[in-house]
């Protein structure tokens, strides 16, 4: 079975005046389909860089990153965008909803770039919004929603294209602990239904819910350990 994500010795190098700075140095790991992985590390450890590489927002200097078996390294920006659209569902810390669009229209954005007809977009958006428990808020503006509801919209948007990988960057970072817990429960449910999730976090509580915890330090993979919610316990 092809893993959802394969990283093969990827490095990200930023040339500086004196010497090259390695944001990531030969990081390798696979994420099998259906796994729920936490990516941890102190700030400056290369978490964000790694997340951008996994999400095809950036390209590695060396090594290969394969999403659903496809190498994005040789693709031009147009093809990369199409692949990102199809295989990656982003959930950001600060939600990143488009304020001028309604909840439903926000969820439709990735479907639009995939080329779905308006009727399909609409049906699909309502379907995923229903799934995250916002079926009754579809015509609201993001500004009319609470933080937890906004993050649910963002999750619905990430699910809309049925991606190979859900990529969540501190999804509870801007939420109070109770709302954060609700969001994490939603991720647990999605995981139980087969979603592959990579979650960047610095909170051990959050990481504990995952099957596997990857720790980064100074651009290197420091440890790769089983989480509390390992398959055996699932």
């Amino acid at each position: 079975m092809t893993p959802a994500l394969e990283l093969d010795a990827i490095s990200k190098v930023y040339p500086l005046a004196d010497e090259d700075f390695y944001a990531l140095r030969e990081v390798s790991f696979d994420v099998p389909v259906g796994e729920y992985v936490a990516l941890m590390g102190p700030s400056g450890s290369g978490k964000s860089t790694l997340m951008n590489l996994i999400g095809l927002l950036d390209t590695p200097t060396e090594g290969r990153a394969l999403l659903a078996g496809q190498d994005a390294g040789d693709l031009d920006p147009e093809e990369q965008a199409a692949m990102r659209n199809r295989h990656v569902g982003f959930v950001f810390q600060s939600f990143h909803l488009l304020p001028r669009l309604s909840v439903r229209e926000n969820v439709e954005v990735p479907l639009t770039y995939a080329g779905y007809r308006p009727s399909v977009r609409r049906r699909r958006a309502l379907e995923v919004l229903d799934r995250v428990g916002l079926g009754d808020r579809v015509d609201h503006r993001p500004s009319q929603l609470s933080g937890g509801q906004r993050q649910r919209v963002a999750i619905a948007r990430a699910l809309a294209m049925n991606p190979s990988l859900l990529l969540a960057d501190e999804p509870t970072g801007n939420l109070d602990s109770e709302t954060g817990l609700e969001i994490l429960t939603l991720f647990d449910e999605l995981h139980a239904q087969g979603a592959t999730i990579v979650m960047v976090t610095h909170e051990p509580d959050v990481a504990e819910r995952c099957e596997r915890v990857l720790r980064l330090r100074d651009g290197r993979l420091e440890s790769d350990s089983q989480g509390r919610a390992a398959p055996a316990a699932a």
């Binding site: 927002l57 990102r84 990143h96 488009l98 990735p110 699910l159 979603a195």
Partner: protein, 448 residues
Amino acid sequence: MNRAATLDATAGDPAGADPAASVADWFALEEPSGTTDTRAIVGIAWRSIRGNASRSLLTALGVIIGVAAVVALTAVGAGVTQNVTANLERLGTNLLTIGATVTRSSSGIVRSESSGITVGDAELLRSLQGLDGRILGVAPSVTSNLQVRAGGLNTTAQVLGTWPDYAPIRDLEVGAGTWWTDVDVESRARVAVVGHEIALELFPGLEPLGQSLTVGSHSFTVVGVLPDKGAGFGSPNRQIIVPLSTYLQRLARSQVAGGTSAQSVNQIFVRATEPDHLSALQSEVTRLLADDRGEFDLEALSFQVQNQADTLASLTAVSRTLTLFLGAIAGISLLVGGIGIMNIMLVSVTERTREIGIRKALGARPADIRLQFLVEAVVLAAGGGLLGLVVGAAGAHFVSPMLGVTSALTVAPMTVAFGVALFVGVVFGLYPAQRAARLDPVASLRHE
């Protein structure tokens, strides 16, 4: 369902969850077309324009003004040209006009005083008429604006002295009464044919025929009344036409000063029987008069013979130059309008950097982002162009009555102006759109 099937193949179920409840199954999706829905992108651009309605209007203002200026100016210009052309055509197209040479000096346009077009010249041409079947008629004319009285009423009229041939030359049939004849010219009879308006003003509610009117200290009997020929340049409605001999003897101002200029006239009209004869006739008349005066340098004659076609041609040339000139001005204002659009679009790209980053993270291709901003610029330009057409047409409609002309909206300049506006939108929209398309997604997402 294809999509669901492929995903199932890879999705599997390593975590031991019930396959029936897998995400792939749960969210069955058909295969996407893979190319972005262009209409949706146009919709995105349109919403952005509407969301910033007042700014959009201000952005498009340059184009609105540019297009409106083209439409209004060309419409009024075409109206003036049509008006003047119509009046010239009313003068008759088979017509030669012999007058003093017009010279331009630093103080403006000056008629050569020494030309001395005289009754003698007209008689010379009339003798030619007898030999030449190509000439329909010869009529000298001399005019001045004078006070005219009748009963207790008085008004100002253009009093014109001429020969009976003036009637067929200018197609002036009387509506009532008769034209005076050569006999009246011989006898210097004090008879007059009056224009429609003058008849109404001096003899309200009366039959004008047989009435008398007074010009200066001389009274004339009305023998004919002209029908209404419409207002405007060259209209006979405010004319009083009298025999040339009578005019020269009794009304000519130069007579007071004395001297030989008593036989002077302003112009001589010669009408050809056929338009085809006109240019041959023009050169023969010129040669005849030049010989008679002993002038041999054809480049420096004291008189000139013009035909209506020449006048129309020079008028057309002038109006074409004017149109080009207006077009150039309008082009410059459209250029300025385009720069305005580019300016605001660049600001907009900066302001919406985060939106661009989000869209890219969600799978917008650079081409999608480029199209979104390009459409926005083009819609602004096209909308401005359409508004400009309306404003320009309305402007022409309201301004032309003040200039005393009927504006004529013509399709060509409107099409060109709108086309140029569209072109400007594309050209000046490309650079900001390209910048938006090339933004780095990572940096854009962090942009506040």
